[in-house]
Symmetry: C2
Subunit: 119 residues, 2 copies
Amino acid sequence: MLLLRDMSKYDSDLDLCFSALGDPTRRRILERLARGEATVSELADPHDMALPSFMEHLKKLEAAQLITSKKQGRTRICSLSPTAFVPARDWLSEQSTIWEGRLDRFDDYIQTLMEERNK
Amino acid sequence: MLLLRDMSKYDSDLDLCFSALGDPTRRRILERLARGEATVSELADPHDMALPSFMEHLKKLEAAQLITSKKQGRTRICSLSPTAFVPARDWLSEQSTIWEGRLDRFDDYIQTLMEERNK
DNA sequence: ATAAAAGTTAGGATATTTCCTAACTTTTAT
DNA sequence: ATAAAAGTTAGGAAATATCCTAACTTTTAT
């Protein structure tokens, strides 16, 4: 099964994704793009930052496959990637599920202890 | 309403949280802790890394409120924080919801498909 | 009472990240 | 044909992150 054979690719995808999400400027960009596509200047406008610095953030988002972009004439239009948050959400859900499953087992254990005591 | 008054704290919480998740060593630690609490050495064992380096990762996870720990005698026991993934999941869900709620989302999707096909 | 175990602290090397300015290319408007 | 607009590239400063070794403290086992 693929899942167990080579996690490293998925792993480095998640590295890029979560690291990209770990910066407030980049989350602002994603929040903006969730509402619709925008050009580089439109995105940069609310951010008090030199354009080349801002572009670095866009590059990271694109490397993390969180956004896509295409050039139209002299302007570049950026969009949120349709599957942007899927890998991150999946990882978080999986861990939560495991965690919650463990709590249930703990409840079972307590339950068993109580029953033993009441014999 | 608190939501609009000071996002900066929540923002920096999310910075710490997502940044912490952006490292494979730290995700391995969380995956381990989702299955139950463990001491520092138990956690460190599978990682080929000097203990002080490893401890830095634990510190980051604790600063991000993803784990908690308590000292018992000379050993420290670490646990996954019960609410560990809630803020991250909430942010991702919110963005997904906004994105999915866009009226023109489907049109965009078709547009993208067409463009892909004509390449 | 010593020694071993389990962390912790201090200090340092190297790489990456995050910002900047200046100069450049390509496209569009006058 | 020029100039302005929208990005892009190059190069560099400063801060942060990620690792290390060596030396230290506290607790437990012999």
